[in-house]
């Protein structure tokens, strides 16, 4: 593997993205290069990893993630993903990946219609993705969630089990009413991962938990 300082991470910015700098911080912490890429750009040729941050792109109008899903950068992200490169969507980024069908299912309004912002125990269900390979299968980690549209829904639940596409599940209860408490999924190949919890907000002790750090260390491994 090349030196980690040669690894380029593209952090996608839409109008309304607001977790971009937290991700830059986490990427710097593991020693990789953070590069901001805007919604109207199309060149990902120098990137090794793409991360779509959380926030409220386009004001969450129509549906969370829907308008971001038709911007010029999206076609490049689809090509990048189809070439088996690692793509991670966090929170609004996960909603966008659901909208553009890079992962199965969608994240819709929470069962109780409330914005939930708290730390949650989560189970790592698969370690075959580029963002979870340093965890242990079945390991329980502590990450914050912060969303109002995080209820996972799919019409093809069985396929997710058959193809090992469930990445994260809530360990204690099911705060937003997600199907089978699922809060992170990946595509069939495993290179595209969508998670509602925020690993970038749990990367050092000062933040109460550093359980999210391995999401960023994993793609360097």
């Amino acid at each position: 593997m090349t030196d980690v300082s040669d690894v380029n991470v593209g952090i996608i910015r839409f109008p309304g993205t607001n977790c971009d700098r937290d991700i830059e911080y986490a990427v710097n912490l593991v020693g990789a290069n953070a590069n901001y890429i805007y919604w109207n750009e199309t060149d990902l040729s120098k990137m090794d990893v793409v991360i779509i941050p959380g926030g409220f792109s386009y004001g969450d109008y129509l549906r969370a993630g829907s308008i971001a899903g038709i911007t010029p950068i999206i076609n490049s992200i689809k090509e990048f993903a189809n070439d088996n490169n690692p793509v991670l969507g966090i929170c609004n980024g996960a909603q966008i990946l659901g909208e553009i069908d890079l992962v199965p299912g969608v994240f819709i309004e929470n069962e109780n219609a409330k914005f939930i912002c708290e730390s949650k125990k989560l189970k790592i269900n698969t370690t075959r993705t580029p963002f979870t390979k340093l965890y242990k299968k079945g390991e329980v980690i502590d990450l914050p969630i912060a969303h109002k549209e995080g209820r996972y829904y799919t019409e093809n639940l069985e396929e997710l089990y058959d193809d090992d596409q469930i990445v994260l599940t809530f360990e204690d209860g099911n705060p937003n009413g997600s199907l089978d408490a699922i809060t992170g999924v990946c595509n069939k190949e495993g290179n595209v991962v969508a998670v509602m919890p925020h690993p970038e907000r749990a990367v050092e002790e000062l933040l109460r938990s550093k359980d999210g750090l391995k999401f960023f260390e994993s793609f360097l491994d």
């Binding site: 129509l62 038709i70 969608v106 309004e109 069962e111 219609a113 829904y153 019409e155």
Partner: protein
């Protein structure tokens, strides 16, 4: 020809609608007992098209590509001449 277009989008039947159930519970607080509460989004615009069929085809494509998510939504298109 200009057409007035109205697109109604709603969650598919049987899908949990938290906004609707919150409204229903709030109405109950005011002593209004209602049931089967639903919420529908309406999007209106004017569209120039060759004819009504062409207008319908364009709006249907808009629904498929952006206005709805076919996993969770049903939609209804109404088109009238301006």
């Amino acid at each position: 020809m200009n057409y007035n277009v109205e697109v109604k989008t709603s969650l598919k039947k049987g899908m949990l609608n938290p906004e609707a159930s919150t409204i229903e519970k709030a109405l109950a607080l005011l002593n209004f007992e209602v049931k089967d509460t639903n919420t529908i989004n309406i999007i209106q615009f004017t569209l120039n098209a060759e004819n009504k069929d062409d207008a319908y085809a364009q709006v249907d494509e808009m629904c498929q590509k952006l206005l709805c998510n076919p996993v969770i939504h049903d939609y209804e298109i109404n088109i009238s001449e301006e």
